[in-house]
Structure formats: C-alpha cells, structure tokens
C-alpha cells in the first residue's frame, strides 16, 4: 500500500511509501495521525494549508460485510477542529484496489482554471476540466461522470453546496447501484473540497486488485465466523426489514425524539414516519421501492432502502432515521413523502441533512416559516440552491442560522448540529455530543443500546467512554457501526482478521487500543487548534430548559465529563 500525495497547484502526484508509524492505522485513526503530523492546527479550513484526506479503514478492500467504508477528513470549516466523516459505497473499496492507504490532497487548484475532476488509476493522477458540471446537482453530475468515465468507477463528488463552500456541505459517494447517496456528510468537508477546486474524484481501479492478505486461510476462517455472527444476530433482521427508521418509535417512547427544534422529546406524528409505516409503504408502493438495500457490495445487513412515491419511482435512497428525526419530527413534518422530497433536494445540493434539518428547525423557531409546512421548507431549501443570502445562511448550518436570526435554542456542539437523540433524555449520548473532538455526532458514541436509566446523570460518562472508544476503533477499521454487533458477538474475529490481513500479532483488545489512540490524536489536534474543556459542553439552555415529556435537563457533572478521556483505570 502507498500514500498518494496530490499537489493541487502543480497538478502532480507523488506516490510514497507509508511512514512506519502510519502502518498500524487506517480510516479515522490514520486521518488523525496525518492531521497531527502535517496540518497546522491554526490553518484556515478553506485555505491552502488545510488538507483533504481520504483513508480507507484497515479492513477495507475485501468485501467483508459492512467493512468497506471510506473515512474523509481535514480541518472542519464548521467546527474549526479535526473532522472525520465516513461513508459506505464503493470509494474505499476501489482506493484500496489501487493500493492507496491514504490519498492526501494538498494546496488548491488555480481558480482561474475552473473546476476540475481528479482521475485516479493505475497510471496515476490526471486532472480533467469539469466546468460543465459547475453548479450542477449531485445526481445529474454523477450520471454524467459515469457516462464519461465508465460504469465501473467509484466517484466522490460535491454538489452546489460544496462549490459555494457552505459549511454544511458533504462529499457524496456512489452506492453499489451507482446512486451518489453515501455521504461523508458532517462537518463541511464538501466545502473543503470545493475550496480546493475539485468537483469530483474518479477512481478507476481497472488493472488493480485486492490488497494483499498475509494468511488467506486464516482470513477466510475469521470472515466466516464474523459473517455467521452477523447473520445470526437479531439486529440484522431489524435493520434489514425496517432500516434505521426502526429508531423512530423507540426514541419517541424514550422521549428523546427531536421535535419542533428540540423543544419536545415526543412527536404526536411519530407513527406515520416510523420504520414500521415506512416498510408498509415501501411494500405497498412496489416498483423501485425496496425495504432492504445494501450500500456496499457484500453487506449482509442491508439496512438501506429505496423510498418511492405512489408511482413506484424512487424519491430518495436511503431514507434514514437521522434525516427523519431532523427533517421530520424536528420540523413537525409527519409525512414520509415530504421528508423524502426534502432529503432528495438536500442530497442533490450535496449538504448534510442533519445540519440542514437543524437549521430549518431554528429558522422555524425564529418565525421564518411555520413548523409542519413541508412546501415552505422545500422553498427554503430552494433558496440554498439559488445561493440567496438566506439560503447561504441556512447552508451555513444551525449555529450560523441561530446567530443571524437571534435564536438561543440552537442544538449544536462545537457549531455542529446535534443529531436525532435529544441529550436531555439520552444523557450518555449527550456526553458524547459534548466531549467528542468531532462536534455533536451520534456516530462518535451512541448509548441508546445501553441498558441504563438514560435520564439519570449517573453512569453516563462511562457509557459514553465505552461507546466512543469502540466507535473510534470501528471507524479506524473501516467497519460500519452496525458491523459492531456482529463483531461483539464474535469479538476475537477483529483480532484474527487484522492478524491474518497484515501478519500482525495484535491482541483481543485491539479495537480499544485503536480507539483510544485515535481519540488521543484527535484531541491533540484540537488542543493545538485552541480547544479547551469549555468547548466540551452542551448548549447552556439544555441544562436549564426541561424536555417534555420527562421534564429532564442535562445534568451530567462537567467535572466528570472532563475526566472522560483519562484512560487510566
């Protein structure tokens, strides 16, 4: 495996050996190491000193179920700190087939040359003009790129949001059916790519191949044990049949479903937007609609879906819990069709549906539109496409929208929107939102599965620490978080897969070793960027304003949260 280092101003590629201390990392952990080693923490995220890094996880490249994720990172223009955002699809897989352990994009293209496509193949890197794609939505851009470069390529691209350098812009990757909806959504990495002058990265792995495996028999044996654990696990059936939307009823029952800009934890219209109703709707409508869909080749969970309209034509794929939470209940929209249309538009603009949902909630709170008016919400998203001042404010995310519109109830940490678990009713996840170096992000350490009293302040730091360390480990492996329940049922397979793949001799605690190392590196970058414990806090109003129906506030002691990364027992 190699490091491919692209100098954007010179439009050149250097292929380098992997530095020794990077070898044992991949994905999120490798990003953190590269950021600490190479990126000045005080740099302008949208300037030439920031780097945009693509790093497949340690287990990527073998179509191991749910383990081909691509981590993308850099300094976030949204949080001002380190950012890693990972996605499924085919980008990670094909990067490894070119032998790429990390793709590092440095500097910026000369703006006068117009937008460019970076094309990667066994022949190296090439820059092609992409002026014809300027301002074009993600779906049409992906279609044209596939026509131009072939149907076997992987593509990572940005939409108009990234081109406008909006801080809620993400980077979108093709799923196994070539739909560009696997999104490195969080933290504004699409704006970083836009600032670098790139519309898309096309990866053509023809002539490449799977990464080497030191002990193929041992790898296959571990793969079989892991697959079996995954297939036998009851969660696989839940995600396959009901998708992540199965969280809607659970979170509503627990009183943590964001409703009307996080002013309530229960939504009277939750049932029509639940996973159960979604499944019924998908099965009834037929056509392109599909309740069980894999985003990555080889995934046996298939938690994704295709949500279609009455005519059976796809409205959006996938429709996920976080989007339903932030663009449904949070906006008082009780129609899956309305949410799906908003979701499609936001995807086409290349934006983070969590961040835009939160921004729209704040805008409704400010009286800019009425909660529940789906047509008006769609018009506001249209303002983003037009690039109007209001549209750019919304595209800047919830924190910016709150500041401009004078709203105090803004659900963000480190300027990044809180996802679909109100932390006053799931307090361990609140600890994660507050303390993770990534800014508010459930994927950094969700605790809803923990069988604890989520409303008590007791035990939440420990629950969050466990989840954060494990998740940082999975992100470093390139494993989907849902691979986690399979791995947890056959924990030795992580060790065995890594040892077989690399010829290592790591122990059974390797997941935690990787997770702790990753978080420590991320915190070091943020420390250099000026972050202190004062940044590791939920918004003050969440400690003061009780959340119905439980009427709880966030009351985990700050001193306890400040000890969360003290790894000593």
């Amino acid at each position: 495996m190699e490091v491919w280092r692209v100098n954007l101003p010179e439009q050149t590629l250097r292929r380098e050996a992997v530095p020794e201390h990077w070898n044992s990392l991949g994905g999120r952990g490798l990003l953190a190491q590269i950021m600490v080693d190479e990126v000045p923490a005080d740099c302008d995220p949208l300037g030439s000193h920031n780097k945009l890094i693509f790093a497949p996880g340690l287990l990527v490249g073998h179509m191991l179920s749910s383990c081909d994720r691509i981590s993308v990172g850099g300094k976030s223009p949204l949080t001002g700190g380190i950012k890693e955002s990972n996605a499924g699809g085919s980008t990670g897989l094909l990067l490894t087939h070119l032998g790429i352990k990390a793709l590092i994009l440095e500097g910026q293209l000369n703006g006068a040359d117009g937008l460019r496509v970076l094309h990667l193949s066994v022949d190296g890197a090439r820059f092609d003009p992409a002026g014809d794609l300027a301002g074009l939505g993600v779906y049409e851009s992906a279609r044209r790129l596939a026509e131009r470069y072939g149907q076997k390529t992987a593509i990572a691209l940005i939409g108009p949001g990234g081109e406008m350098q909006l801080t809620s812009a993400g980077i979108q990757n093709l799923d196994k059916d070539r739909v560009p909806s696997r999104i490195n959504a969080r933290g504004g990495l699409g704006a970083v790519m836009g600032a670098k002058g790139l519309k898309a990265i096309v990866i053509d792995a023809a002539g490449g191949g799977k990464p080497p495996v030191a002990d193929l028999a041992a790898f296959r044996a571990a793969q079989k044990a892991y697959n079996q654990a995954l297939l036998n696990h009851p969660q696989t059936a839940v995600y396959r049949d009901f998708g992540t939307a199965s969280l809607v009823r659970l979170c509503n029952a627990l009183g943590c479903l964001p409703t009307r800009n996080f002013s309530n934890g229960q939504f009277e219209g939750a049932d029509p937007i639940s996973g159960e109703v979604m499944r019924e709707t998908i099965l009834r409508r037929g056509g392109q609609a599909d309740p069980s869909h894999a985003c990555m080749a080889g995934c046996v969970i298939r938690c994704s879906n295709i949500f279609a309209g009455e005519d059976g034509k796809s409205l959006v794929s996938p429709l996920e819990y976080e989007t339903i939470g932030l663009m449904g209940s949070n906006l008082a929209l009780d129609s899956l069709d309305s949410i799906a249309r908003l979701n499609y538009e936001v995807n086409d603009l290349g934006l983070d549906s969590i961040e835009i949902g939160a921004a729209l909630g704040v805008a409704a709170e400010a009286g800019l539109w009425m909660f529940g008016d789906g047509a008006h919400a769609l018009e506001l998203v249209g303002e983003i496409r037009q690039g109007t001042p209001l549209g750019r404010v919304l595209g800047g995310g919830a924190a910016l929208t709150g500041r401009v519109l004078g709203v105090r109830r803004v659900p963000v940490v480190k300027n990044q929107a809180i996802s679909a678990y109100d932390p006053r009713a799931i307090k361990g996840t609140g600890v994660t939102y507050a303390t993770t170096p990534q800014g508010a992000d459930h994927t950094a350490g969700l605790t809803v599965r923990a069988k604890i009293d989520h409303t008590s302040p007791v035990g939440q730091v420990a629950a969050s620490r466990t989840a954060q360390v494990n998740n940082a480990g999975y992100d470093t492996l390139g494993a989907c978080l849902f691979a986690g329940f399979g791995f947890m049922a056959a924990i030795e397979t992580i060790r065995d897969l890594l040892n077989a793949r690399y010829g290592w001799q790591v122990g059974a605690d390797i997941l935690q070793v990787l997770g702790r190392r990753t978080i420590s590196l991320e915190r070091e970058f943020n420390r250099r960027a000026g972050f202190t414990s004062a940044d590791d806090r939920l918004p003050e109003w969440m400690r003061e304003e009780p959340l119905a129906p439980l009427n709880t506030v966030f009351d985990v002691p700050e001193a306890e949260m400040d000890e969360i990364y003290n790894w000593q027992p």
């Binding site: 009901f242 199965s246 159960e276 976080e322 069988k451 978080l481 439980l550």
Partner: protein, 79 residues
C-alpha cells in the same frame, strides 16, 4: 391486573395478524416485567429487548402496574 403490550418492528410478526402490534395482557397483581415476557413467549431473549414504560427503560425485576403500557422493542444500536 391488565396491561397493554405494544410490540415493534420484527416483533410484530409474533402476534396474530391484524392485532396492529398491540394486545392486552392479564397478569397477577404485582407481576414483574419478567413474568410479562414469560407470558408473551417472544422468540427473542430478554437481553435482546428494550422494555419501556412511561418513557423509562425497565429491568426484568421491575414491577408492573394495572393500566401500564409496556413497549417492547428489539434492542438496536442506533441509526
């Protein structure tokens, strides 16, 4: 006493079709969550379930009360 049980997602298939996922369950006064689960005869073991009454997660030994609505979810890691 009688409680209402609401089953969700893959558990829906474990009760008679058309019940809409909801059923009434008669239990002895003071019965706990474990006895409710024993009566339901679900295929998933208790450790694979999340049990909620009044927005709070219950333990197997917690007592139920007449009129309670017991929500039964397959445990999931999140979305």
């Amino acid at each position: 006493m009688t409680i209402t049980v609401r089953l969700h997602s893959i558990l829906l298939g474990q009760i008679p079709h058309g019940a809409g996922g909801e059923l009434a369950l008669a239990l002895p006064d003071g019965a706990d969550v474990a006895s409710a689960l024993a009566a339901l005869k679900l295929t998933l073991p208790a450790e694979a379930l999340i049990l909620v009454v009044n927005h709070r997660i219950l333990r197997l030994q917690d007592a139920l009360h007449d009129g309670d609505v017991l929500e039964v979810f397959p445990a999931i890691s999140g979305g």
